[in-house]
């Protein structure tokens, strides 16, 4: 607030005159600048685009193919553009949160959505560098396959066969569509930049749960029944911190929130409809309670071994969802009731610290960034892994081929709804076994693979991305060594692939088997060390 400075009593007539002039000039100065009475080095812009496919597509996230049968709720790309001119040195960052399962980055094949988006943005905004732009995925399991590979290559049957002759678009068509729309969000966010401020805080939201159970013999299993007598314990840790960045305009109006939480959005992971999963309900509730124009940028922290599903107490949770009045469209494990419950929890977490965030806005924080391609040690495969892979191939290849022959002989079968489930599972499993062999050969040539890591500094906050479904322990290790007051770890800023811990590998569950993981604990430690080193270089 502008206040009149104390003035000494001056000569009555001249004094009053000078006092009035001084006061007028001072007030005009304050009114011009508003509440921000210092240099405006920080510019913030937000934008969203709808990346919902306009035609039926293949949905990514399960072993079997799923052809979309409608749109439950839209998919969004949310872009936050930040430009700092502090000290006359421009620093430009655009972060984009995507309702996709991952962001193809060229690690697995030549599909590189990240590169496609960057090229488009840089072309439109030449002052930006490609690495100024980072993308991360929420891991929704009800978004399109985003790849240059065809349905035939991915699932072993053609799109036409899967669709039974009905209209559908290949993954590649959606890939280019998504690249355009995501780039559009980034470009618009950049153009929407205005002076603004940021605040950051740590809240709590118990949403993510470690999804691996271990039995008395030490064997791990993803999900599964924990009421069995063999159940011993949950394999790993959970992190219920909610890392938040709030952005404000110069009138201290909240414009957006970056929500970083250690849980992937896969409540409705089996649906055959397009959906942003719980982020749809979360954005809606946050807008209802904090402003209809609020932007929400979701980030998933290190959560490769986490899920939004309860590992026990299902009935109790279902009952609570009913009592909360969240049961209109179902309750329980994969339900809308659960999604609404999560939305409620996250929104409460965001609101819980809002008053303190408004009182502690930084208008001129240090902004810095660094991006590097880090060579990480691959998880090297051994003879046992090859043997397991060979066994998988030997089991599933004949099944796939037989089913294929049946379809060729009876093409009318492709008119049946979801006829393709069994054959695409068979192909995925057969292909998985084969890919292990391909990796084994590749490892001999290149025992390391480069991955992109980006770190951003905003004031006392560090944001550190990685492309993986990173097991939670690695994220904790980054946070404890980071010099930042708060460290936002962001996974799935690339194509995915689990990065499991040593204990998880010993347990042997999905997510830790060789076929699921390009990298292992050695690479994980290298990632942690390098990420921390990069963060420290910004302090």
């Amino acid at each position: 607030m502008c206040q009149l400075p104390n003035n000494k009593r001056l000569n009555m007539s001249a004094g009053i005159k000078y006092t009035h002039i001084y006061s007028l000039v001072y007030h005009l100065f304050c009114l011009t600048l508003g509440p921000v009475a210092f240099s405006q080095t920080l510019q913030i812009g937000w934008a969203t685009t709808d990346i919902t496919p306009t035609q039926p597509v293949l949905i990514q996230g399960q072993f079997h193919a799923r052809l979309s049968e409608g749109v439950k709720d839209p998919l969004t790309a949310t872009a936050l553009a930040i430009e700092s001119q502090k000290g006359g040195q421009p620093v430009r960052v655009i972060m984009i949160g995507l309702d996709l399962i991952s962001v193809a980055d060229g690690l697995r094949d030549n599909s590189n959505l990240r590169k496609e988006v960057r090229e488009r943005v840089v072309k439109a905004i030449p002052e930006l560098k490609p690495t100024d732009i980072s993308l991360n995925a929420t891991h929704t399991h009800t978004a399109p396959v985003t790849s240059l590979r065809s349905a035939q290559e991915i699932y072993g049957v053609s799109l036409e066969e899967i669709a039974g002759g009905k209209k559908a678009i290949e993954p590649r068509e959606y890939y280019y569509f998504a690249a355009e729309k995501i780039a559009e969000a980034a470009i618009n966010a950049w153009k929407n930049r205005k002076p603004g401020g940021v605040s950051y805080g740590l809240s709590k939201a118990v949403v993510g749960h470690n999804r691996l159970q271990v039995d008395q013999a030490g064997k791990s299993l993803m999900y599964g029944n924990t009421s069995r007598p063999e159940f011993s314990h949950i394999e790993g840790y959970e992190d219920h911190n909610l890392n938040l960045i709030y952005t404000w305009d110069t009138s201290r109006k909240l414009t957006g929130v970056v929500v970083n939480i250690a849980v992937p959005s896969q409540v409705s992971e089996h649906l055959y409809e397009i959906s942003a999963d719980f982020w749809n309900e979360t954005r809606a509730l946050m807008r209802e309670e904090l402003g209809k124009d609020l932007y929400v940028l979701p980030q998933v922290s290190a959560a490769g071994d986490q899920s939004p599903h309860f590992m026990w107490n299902d009935k109790a949770e279902e009952r609570m969802q009913k009592l909360m009045g969240l049961d209109k469209d179902g309750t329980g494990r994969n339900s809308m009731g659960r999604r609404l419950q999560i939305a409620r929890t996250i929104t409460e977490g965001v609101k819980a610290i809002l008053p303190y965030m408004k009182e502690n806005i930084e208008w001129d924080p240090i902004v810095a960034q660094k991006t590097e391609n880090i060579p990480l040690s691959r998880r090297l495969l051994g003879p046992d892994d090859l043997a397991t892979a060979d066994k998988e191939t030997a089991e599933w290849k004949p099944k796939y081929e037989q089913m294929l022959a049946e379809i060729k002989a009876n093409p009318d079968k492709t008119k049946e709804k979801r006829w393709y489930t069994a054959i695409t599972i068979a192909h995925t499993r057969y292909r998985r076994g084969r890919s292990v062999h391909e990796r084994y050969e590749a490892e001999k040539r290149n025992p390391k693979l480069p991955v992109e890591v980006k770190v951003i500094r905003i004031g006392d906050v560090a944001i550190a991305t990685n492309p993986f479904e990173l097991y939670l322990d690695y994220g904790i290790r980054m946070k404890v060594k980071s010099p930042a007051v708060q460290t936002f770890v962001v996974q799935l800023a690339g194509g995915g692939s689990y990065l499991p811990t040593r204990r998880s590998i010993l347990g042997g569950a999905y997510g830790a088997v060789p076929a699921s993981t390009l990298f292992g604990p050695e690479g994980g430690t290298e990632l942690v060390e390098k990420t921390v080193e990069m963060i420290k270089s910004l302090w």
């Binding site: 118990v206 159940f231 314990h233 026990w312 107490n313 290790r477």
Partner: protein, 498 residues
């Protein structure tokens, strides 16, 4: 004709009615759901000063009372069949067997025909309550005698039970579950496979937090005949030891939590604090200290003490988190008040295999004991630690004559409506509590630790890591006994849901 009609109609009818009546009576005797009568009261068990404090290795004498200490009492009765269940929570560190015996004896003196076996008493684990374990610490003449404090607590609790019994009334009950980040697994694991309780997490060799956390908060609400909240039971898997090193009497986070809830609801709300399986937990953060400390400063306007969370402001913060969760659950479940509920209370006496002592552990124990005994002043201050090592030596000797010794424990398993309550006397590592909850057939399972003298019950993985709470000195019953405890508890719970 009349006779014919009578024989044809009335006799069979009468017989039918007789059978029906007999069946109904039989069913009534097994009829589980019944009207619930509940009495509740709070008693003050604050010791007089100066008093020694329980929970650390060295003697601490308190000269200041920062908060009162309470015992909160609930007495439940169902009429058909007649059944009672008494629940008591005390702001002390554990419930030694002798204290439980004193309580039961004092209750029998007041209520001679009362079922004192069905009295379940748990400790909040505050490390700033009076010493309740005789012969654990040196006892200077100037301080309150431990046995006197034990008798004081026993009489106050018995008085509370009597008052609650005599004022019991028909009540309804609700249950619910919510979540709050209150538990932090306090064991850090390092690259070389070792573990450390409260270990540093910012070193290059830190690899992970060792074990799981259970952030669920199970709650019971009891409503009087007018529909007002009478009492609540809050089950949180995090022990009350934020200010554990102080030289003052303090109920730890339960005090500000009770204050918040009583202000929100009413001043005489009876609040039972049940600590869940939390032997490896603490309410204090293990990492992101700067971020946590900053949030305290922003919220409470207090400068704090750097990254030290053993503070009054942090007590307020944990109390706030729990209270918000409890109040949220209250708002959600108050629409579902159960009138006729099954009340069943089983007390089991188990003999669990003791964790064997190895010869090399005895050698180590003797060595550490000699170090403490070497200096007379230190020997006095470290009386507790010296005794701690001596127990290991004694157990090893006992093993020579009793090769498979057993550790007797009393557990309570209670059914109330759709929920189960299962107690154990240990500082039980969280994983065991999770197993009980996952395998239980009840809708919700409240696991209550420290219904007894304590001692840690670690997991096998924790034992491999070592350090306090997982070493032989800390442990009477190990993973083998822990699994048996889980199996027996689950077995009894599930008997209530055939």
């Amino acid at each position: 004709m009349v006779d014919i009609l009578y024989n044809a109609v009335m006799k069979p009818l009468a017989f039918r009615n007789f059978c029906l009546g007999a069946v109904l009576c039989l069913l009534a005797s097994f009829a589980a759901a019944d009207e619930l009568r509940v009495g509740a009261t709070t008693v003050d068990i604050t010791p007089q000063l100066p008093v020694s404090l329980d929970g650390q290795m060295a003697l601490r004498v308190a000269s200041k009372i920062e908060t009162p200490l309470e015992a909160n009492v609930l007495v439940l009765e169902s009429l058909s069949p007649q059944n009672t269940s008494v629940w008591v929570t005390c702001d002390i560190v554990t419930i030694p067997t002798e204290l439980l015996d004193l309580i039961r004896k004092a209750v029998r003196a007041r209520l001679p025909r009362f079922n004192t076996r069905n009295i379940m008493v748990n400790a909040s684990h505050t490390h700033t309550g009076g010493v309740v374990r005789a012969n654990w610490y040196p006892e200077p003449d100037s301080i309150v005698k431990v046995t006197d404090y034990q008798h004081f607590i026993a009489e106050k609790v018995a008085e509370g039970i009597e008052n609650a019994w005599k004022t019991r009334e028909k009540c309804t009950v609700s249950w619910g579950i919510g979540y709050a980040k209150v538990a932090y697994n306090r064991r850090a694991r390092y690259e070389d496979g070792t573990a450390r309780m409260y270990g540093k997490t910012d070193g290059d060799d830190f690899r992970k937090i060792e074990g799981y956390e259970d952030q669920s908060i199970n709650t019971l609400f009891f409503w009087n005949p007018q529909g007002a909240l009478k009492a609540t039971c809050i089950n949180v898997a995090s022990p009350a030891q934020i200010v554990e090193s102080r030289y003052t009497v303090n109920a730890d986070y339960w005090h500000p939590l009770r204050e918040i809830l009583r202000k929100e609801h009413h001043p005489s709300l009876v609040i039972l604090g049940w600590v869940g399986a939390a032997g490896d937990q603490t309410p204090r953060p293990m990492y992101e200290h700067s971020a946590e400390a900053r949030m305290l400063r922003l919220r409470y306007g207090e400068p704090g003490q750097g990254n030290d969370f053993r503070t009054d402001v942090y007590l307020k913060e944990i109390a706030r988190r729990i209270a918000e969760c409890v109040n949220d659950t209250y708002r959600v479940v108050q629409k579902e008040k159960h009138e006729n509920v099954t009340l069943a209370h089983q007390v089991l006496d188990l003999n669990l295999p003791m964790r064997p002592v190895k010869e090399e552990e005895v050698v180590e124990a003797r060595k550490m004991q000699e170090e403490d005994l070497a200096d007379p002043i230190r020997a006095t201050q470290m009386k507790r630690r010296i005794a701690w090592q001596q127990e290991v030596i004694d157990r090893f000797e006992m093993q020579k004559t009793i090769p498979n010794p057993k550790y007797p424990v009393e557990i309570h398993v209670i059914r109330l409506g759709d929920i189960a309550i299962a107690s154990n006397p240990f500082e039980l590592f969280t994983e065991y509590g999770v197993q009980m909850k996952a395998r239980s057939k009840s809708l919700q399972t409240f696991v209550v630790q420290l219904v007894g003298p304590g001692t840690y019950l670690p997991t096998r993985y924790a034992e491999e890591g070592g350090h306090y709470s997982a070493i032989v000195q800390s442990v009477r019953v190990g993973p083998e006994g822990g699994q048996l405890l889980v199996d027996k508890t689950v077995e009894q719970i599930n008997r209530f849901w055939p």
